[in-house]
């Protein structure tokens, strides 16, 4: 169906894009700083990219997982509770 435009997929795609973006921003920043301060970086530039990407991705993934396992069931049970109370009303 319209899987590729579903909110979930968009969020997923945005996360990936954000990760890549932060990778390049970080490598760029460290390169510039190293040139500016005339020092050699501790690690290869790509590691700074990974480092920032990880900080973008990992908390987001953790949050998404928590959301999936906590929020969705809560929503459903809330709806269920509402429905039950509706059903118990005499019609």
């Amino acid at each position: 169906m319209s899987d590729f435009l579903s909110p979930n997929f968009l969020v997923f795609a945005a996360t990936i894009v954000a990760a890549f973006l932060s990778f390049y921003l970080a490598t760029g920043r460290v390169r510039k700083q190293a040139i500016a301060s005339q020092t050699k970086s501790h690690s290869l530039n790509q590691y700074y990219g990974f480092y920032v990407s990880l900080w973008v991705l990992v908390p987001a993934i953790l949050l998404a997982l928590i959301w999936m396992f906590a929020a969705d069931p809560m929503l459903t049970s809330a709806a269920k509770a509402r429905m039950e109370c509706r059903l118990s009303e005499p019609t």
């Binding site: 460290v30 501790h42 929020a71």
Partner: protein, 373 residues
């Protein structure tokens, strides 16, 4: 409730207005929750990004930090094995404990009458349902366990001689070329999915045994333990043959030399020296095979019976632990009934038994390993 979720997702049409309204509400709630989630995610990503970006400088030990993270991730992956075990134990225990609140441990493990489906018979009232489910007679697992053992014993009776002698041949007599052909061929038997064996047992072996019984004047059930166990034996042959072959090959050549040097024939060397030396490993292999046989599901589900008969006659129909688990958990049963809970109690028993067998097998093989390090 599942229906409501499906309606909200647009999979099915709402049967009535109330449901439709509810579904609409649920959908709205889901949509707002989705928005909230997206915003939160974006916020978290921004915070993470700015924190890390601000910290980036040539002095930052980025590689060390990345590797520390990866190492932790790797560790967590390894811990998944523990989590799985915990998950198994916890889920089985949780449901089994709920079961044992209704049925006493003693009645379950020592009761000799198993008929969890009794309550489903037409004519039984809800009260009778309560009564039967709660009564001590219905959930006695002894006949189920007996059936499991009977099938496993038949399977081992087929598999042990064939597997062991095959292993003796491939490891001691066969030339390398023959061995390279025979071993993979036998292992094909292990690669055949169990559902295929089940199909063969139910639709070929069982009718064959029944007809054979008619010819010689024996009354063989069309779901005889013999058919299920026999076919299971075929399935287990490669386990025994390849494990035994490994074990026999691991016996040091010096022992064979010693025996030959004293004037043993090849047969005497094998029977009197090699096999006794390999004995602990062979026991380990057999235990693993028994564990396989007890835990095997599809063959018995398709070819063994459902009724729990207490018998040691292989021509009759028996049921097994795995068959009962499948029977109790397929179809639309309520998840919380004593019946479905009993499946978890059976599952727990099965898990414990196979675990003990595996540990015993491991200990046995380890003893062999120590002897010839």
């Amino acid at each position: 409730m599942a229906q409501l979720v499906n309606i909200a997702a647009g999979y099915i049409k709402a049967p009535d207005a109330v449901m439709a309204a509810q579904a609409e509400l649920l959908r709205a709630a889901q949509a707002s929750a989705d928005r909230a989630r997206s915003l939160t995610l974006a916020a978290v990503m921004c915070v993470g990004f700015f924190y890390a970006f601000w910290r980036v400088s040539p002095e930052l030990r980025a590689r060390v930090l990345c590797e520390a993270f990866l190492r932790r991730l790797f560790f967590l992956s390894a811990v998944v094995a523990i989590l799985t075990t915990i998950g198994i134990v916890a889920s089985l225990l949780f449901e089994a404990v709920r079961f044992f609140r209704e049925i006493s441990l003693f009645d379950f493990f020592f009761g000799t009458h198993w008929s969890p489906m009794t309550a489903l018979r037409p004519g039984d009232t809800a009260a009778a349902d309560e009564f039967v489910a709660g009564s001590s007679g219905s959930f006695g697992m002894v006949p189920v366990m007996a059936g499991t053992l009977l099938v496993a014993v038949i399977a081992m009776a087929v598999a042990v001689p064939i597997g062991l002698f095959s292993a003796i041949y491939t490891s001691e007599f066969a030339s390398r070329r023959v061995r390279n052909i025979v071993k993979p061929t036998l292992e094909v038997l292990a690669g055949v999915p169990t559902v295929v064996y089940g199909f063969f047992a139910a639709l070929t072996a069982a009718p064959f045994f029944r007809d054979l019984g008619l010819v010689v004047g024996l009354d063989v059930s069309s779901q005889s333990a013999l058919a299920a166990g026999g076919v299971m034996g075929i399935m287990i042959i490669p386990f025994i043959s390849s494990l035994s072959d490994d074990v026999i090959t691991a016996v040091p050549q010096s022992l064979r030399d010693g025996a030959y040097g004293l004037g043993s024939t090849r047969g005497e060397t094998i029977i009197r020296v090699v096999l006794p030396a390999a004995f602990p490993g062979l026991v380990g292999a057999f235990l693993l095979a028994i564990s396989r046989a007890i835990g095997e599901t599809m063959i018995v589900v398709m070819a063994a019976g459902v009724a729990a008969n207490m018998t040691i006659n292989p021509l009759e129909s028996v049921t097994t632990v795995t068959v009962q688990i499948v029977m109790l958990l397929t179809g639309d049963n309520e998840f919380d009934s004593v019946k479905t809970l009993s499946a978890f109690a059976l599952g727990m028993t099965l898990f414990v038994i196979t675990l003990l067998l595996n540990v015993a097998a491991l200990t046995a093989s380890r003893r062999l390993g120590q002897r010839y390090e």
